[in-house]
Symmetry: C2
Subunit: 257 residues, 2 copies
């Protein structure tokens, strides 16, 4: 069989193999992967159908063969990334059986920290938060794993969802705050002294704020440099501790089985 894939056009149909269904240049998977890469690299603003298409060396219109809308692509990208934590959480819920007393706390904490780390790796995950609940396979598996974890921890049926929501909502809110805080310090102090630069760029603003609102001023770093990473970690742990204490008191008792 002569080479037919490139070069001169074949002089006869019969010399050209019929196009296999498999030699498609595109696939939903490739598209989603390209989208995730783009999102990681340039954020939500950087994501466009045309850009994704270009990265795949294809026309924008062709993407619509695999995906009916940009929103849909975003849904797919989000679920793709949720897969990163799925393994961890499934490990928590299955490796250990009914969870020995006290273990459930650290299991929940690991779940929360895993989700937080993932969101920090892919900050764009938070940009579409309020738009639509994720119904993708990974999202579903993740939610169910969380519910099962809480069930084996001894939470009553009617409280499973509320308990899970308490934790995931905290993760989401905390990471959103962390990211917004990070972007302002990083954007201003791109390559200079980091936090120091934000404080000098803010100039008189910070001082005026601190004067009018002393408590708030300290929080914003008027009293000295502030490490947003360390601060965020401290707050995250604090609230998580509060939540787990509260959950402990509401727990039904020991594992049912």
């Amino acid at each position: 069989m002569p080479s037919s894939t490139s070069g001169e056009p074949p002089f006869s149909v019969w010399l050209r193999p019929e196009r296999a269904r498999r030699d498609r240049r595109l696939s939903r998977e490739r598209i989603v992967r390209a989208a995730v890469a783009l999102l990681d690299a340039e954020g939500v603003r950087g994501l466009s159908m045309r850009r994704v298409a270009a990265d795949l060396e294809v026309t924008a219109g062709s993407l619509y063969w695999y995906v009916t809308t940009k929103d849909e692509l975003m849904e797919l990208a989000m679920d793709e990334v949720l897969g990163e934590v799925l393994g961890e959480v499934l490990g928590e819920v299955s490796e250990r059986g009914p969870a020995p007393e006290g273990e459930w706390r650290t299991a929940l904490e690991r779940m929360a920290r895993g989700q937080r780390a993932m969101l920090l790796r892919h900050p764009w995950m938070l940009s579409d938060l309020a738009s639509q609940p994720n119904l993708g396979p990974n999202a579903l598996a993740l939610a169910d794993a969380g519910l099962r974890l809480l069930a084996t921890a001894g939470f009553r049926d009617g409280e499973l969802d509320a308990a899970l929501a308490a934790i995931t909502d905290h993760v989401v809110g905390a990471v959103a705050a962390e990211i917004s805080w990070r972007t302002v310090t990083e954007r201003t102090g791109a390559r200079a002294g980091g936090t120091a630069d934000w404080r000098e760029r803010a100039g008189g603003f910070l001082e005026r704020v601190a004067e009018e609102y002393p408590l708030l001023g300290r929080r914003l770093g008027a009293g000295g440099p502030v490490d947003p990473g360390a601060e965020s970690e401290r707050r995250f742990a604090y609230a998580l501790g509060c939540l787990l204490d509260g959950l402990e008191a509401r727990r039904g008792g020991r594992p049912p089985a």
Copy 2:
């Protein structure tokens, strides 16, 4: 060393003084109000410079005399709306002085509920969450009022910010989940039986999920109609209760003054 303070565009509206006034059809205030109205009516997707300009019977370009960028307009709109809760929180913190024992709990709860209600009135507030911390006057006043509330509640200095973050992060995360949940049920069951319609529109999907993930299936309404409003309220209260319990245990003691 050349002054580095000028050159780059200011990264926040609040660091840049407003222009002098004269006889003009436009004003920052009018623009912001129009933007808020548009956002309330049509969400973030509906907001465009051209649309705002049209609503004000003016050309798109002219907006840039008052606002350097669409992001800036968004910052302004968000702070505008934060003003709605400012009054309530200030009431909490000043009306009652050092807050009698036990009162701090209900004060915090009122604050949280006020913020939640405001976010539900203006769901678009959550669409820019992770982008940039709000440094507007209302945002600052609100944050400081929260800190003061916690201070009079007896929280130690070093924990004020973590305690406040615990609550606001929960509010944000919970409302984000609530909105996303609401949009899916409302979008599908626009004028029909509300939640019922979502369940029938989802068709086999819901059943398949419930089969593979029994716990999750119930949560999604596979077992019967679910009222997202009531469910969200229940979850919100549950997590808030957990948080307040945890906070109570960490509180320093009684009010310092």
